[in-house]
Symmetry: C2
Subunit: 156 residues, 2 copies
DNA sequence: ATTGAAATATGTTCGTA
DNA sequence: TACGAACATATTTCAAT
């Protein structure tokens, strides 16, 4: 990702606009305008500026995975053989839909992934049948999230 | 969170609507309608159903933290004293704006948190001045994300 | 469940300050 | 930057199928 914008001034109004849209991406601009006390056109103009500066990288609908039957989240630390290709392993991990995040990390592991599963059985299948068999994976360490207490974005 | 909805049928059209809105929460319903080949009113009705079933838990603007100068993401495993109160520690962690996620986990640690920092100096300050001093925290293990390769939601 | 059409609400542009 | 007014789109409701 190329970041050209070396300086971007974000004032209190920008922050308030972003705060409201970070909570609800579909909140009407006019409603935000009214709550802040400036015109809709001004909000529109500021949002355009923020988008151009790439402060906003998009918007998402958030799906409630629990309702879809996904009850188990886990973090898996993956040890890769020295000789193996990290990017090849990532390519394989990307094919596994249950993998939500994947990081190259410092420390014991080569890779840390966050995964979501229906239940423990599903998690076991995923580890044994999908992740362990990936070429170069020597060992994994699994940490099940018993309960997620915090989930948020950076605060402005 | 109470989940009453034991069964919710999501057909291919629902999935396609959700897929498009998961990518862009502000995509006009009419545009989705046109791409699928049904009326806007039908999309509207399906979205209402999905919201009522709590399949959709909201929408968010995504802020590009890199542009704001946050270049370092890390995972921190936290060991808590046996005697200490987990929920008290979480309460303290919640006060730290750099903490984006916090999970109770199985395995070595009591808690795993995901944090975002401007740089390594900021990370060190955060660990030494904010996280380590929390009552009950005996030790932490830090894994810096050198590069995040995958970031996504569940695939429908 | 779906539709089209009407009514309402929202987004966008533009001339001006 | 900000405004308001004019214009263009989108959302929501509803009677009918």
């Amino acid at each position: 990702m190329k970041i050209n914008q070396l300086q971007i001034e974000i004032d209190g109004i920008d922050k308030e606009i972003l705060r409201q849209l970070m909570e609800d991406a579909r909140k009407p601009i006019l409603q935000i305008a009214h709550s802040i006390g400036i015109s809709g056109a001004a909000i529109h103009q500021r949002l355009k500026k923020l988008e151009e500066a790439q402060v906003i990288s998009g918007s998402k609908f958030i799906i409630n995975t629990k309702v879809l039957g996904y009850r188990t989240m886990a973090f898996v630390g993956i040890y890769l053989d020295k000789a193996s290709s990290n990017s090849e392993a990532v390519r394989e991990l990307r094919k596994i839909p249950e993998v939500l995040e994947c990081h190259y990390t410092t420390g014991n592991w080569s890779i840390l992934v966050k995964i979501i599963c229906k239940d423990n059985e599903h998690l076991m299948q995923l580890l044994n049948k999908k992740i362990q068999p990936i070429d170069g994976v020597s060992r994994t360490e699994t940490f099940i999230s018993l309960e997620q207490q915090i989930e948020r974005q950076i605060q402005l």
